[in-house]
């Protein structure tokens, strides 16, 4: 596991490619979500952030911000971690639209809502990865998703473990999407393993 290139030294064209990766993946996921809840979903232009670990918490409103997170390990040709993160309010809103549960004021999710979240994560991450796999001609296989509700720092810290073995910065592809009336805001974070960048760039026709 030797990283040949410095993640800090990405060229503009390469950043563009990573943005496109986020665009394609999240675009398909947003369509899947839109079908699921039968509402229009808007998507923002993906951000490709090169973040040092010290600043990682600033990505989503502070390290202690509590968020609902669905985590999948991506296996196959270009391994990495995929996280789908929602604020508590957004997750509640989304779940209510899917399982038609009674509106409640509690921050807790019952078992039914919890499995719904897991399933939403599964569907969205699945469409994110399969569109990316089609586009790149790579095999990308998601593991069964796991859900947790916890501090942003704690979750991203875990998502960065593979990267941390060779680097003190991570490239994070963040795509935000919003439901029409802005009640639901979600983030996709794709954190490719360091060795996966070469593979992604090559698959997209750029020799890095």
């Amino acid at each position: 596991m030797i990283m040949k290139r410095d993640l800090n030294a990405l060229q503009e064209i390469e950043l563009d490619i990573l943005r496109e990766v986020g665009n394609i993946g999240a675009g398909h996921a947003a369509t899947a979500l839109s079908t699921l809840i039968q509402k229009t979903i808007d998507m923002e232009v993906p951000k490709v952030n090169i973040v040092s670990f010290a600043d990682i918490g600033e990505l989503l409103g502070g390290e202690e911000q509590i968020m609902v997170s669905v985590f999948l390990r991506v296996e196959g040709d270009a391994p990495g971690n995929l996280l789908f993160m929602l604020t508590l309010d957004s997750a509640k809103e989304l779940v209510e639209q899917i399982v038609y549960s009674e509106e409640s004021n509690s921050d807790e999710f019952n078992d039914m809502e919890y499995s719904a979240l897991k399933e939403i994560g599964n569907i969205l991450a699945g469409s994110y990865l399969s569109s990316l796999a089609d586009f790149t001609n790579l095999t990308l296989l998601p593991t069964v998703p796991a859900v947790t509700i916890d501090m942003v720092g704690a979750i991203l810290g875990f998502g960065l473990i593979q990267v941390s073995q060779v680097s003190d910065v991570a490239i994070v592809i963040d795509t935000t999407f919003l439901e029409g009336d802005r009640k639901v805001e979600g983030h996709f974070f794709l954190i490719p393993d360091p060795d996966s960048f070469d593979i992604l760039f090559n698959a997209l026709g750029v020799n890095w």
């Binding site: 670990f53 010290a54 593991t143 720092g153 704690a154 810290g157 875990f158 473990i161 593979q162 073995q165």
Partner: protein
């Protein structure tokens, strides 16, 4: 207002009373706290990985690994006036944030970080007097260098003091 020294991920710092040391969002990472009660000097490291041994190239960030962060922190505390033989340790973090059906060792990083931290402390004969480790939730910790009390905040379980 007491000054709070912030420690980031893969980072460490030391402070003399009344300054406080704080790190947020420990998940699978471990917060290693060292304290000299007589001189009221504290240290806090937010490590991500168990061992620097697998790193073969380049300069390493010593604060990132349990095995390198602890000796570095001890040296920094000693240069502030702490006595090595008075040091005691407290540990927090090392959670398993997600439950997976995978055999991948990397996914068990939390428990491995805790074990490595304990081994590194044992090597330097630093006793661990309290710990709040494992489980499946994140923790934010703050060390009061006046008393040595470590307060641990979690999303669902409120504040716990060690």
């Amino acid at each position: 207002m007491t000054e709070i020294v912030k420690v980031g991920m893969a980072d460490l710092n030391v402070a003399v009373s009344p300054k406080r040391l704080r790190t947020t969002g420990l998940g699978s990472c471990v917060g290693i706290v060292l304290f000299d009660k007589i001189h009221r000097i504290g240290g806090l490291a937010h490590i991500m990985l168990p061992s620097s041994e697998m790193v073969k190239i380049g300069e390493i960030n010593k604060a990132k690994y349990a095995d390198t962060a602890i000796p570095l922190m001890v040296d920094m505390m000693v240069s502030l006036g702490a006595n090595k033989s008075l040091l005691v340790a407290k540990l927090a973090g090392g959670a398993q944030m997600f439950q997976f059906q995978t055999q991948n060792e990397m996914m068990r990083i939390g428990p491995r970080n805790v074990t490595a931290s304990k081994e590194a402390l044992a090597k330097l004969n630093i006793p661990i007097i309290a710990e709040d480790v494992g489980e499946n939730y994140g923790r934010t910790i703050e060390l009061d260098t006046e008393t040595g009390i470590l307060s641990i905040k979690t999303a669902n379980k409120g504040i716990n003091e060690l």
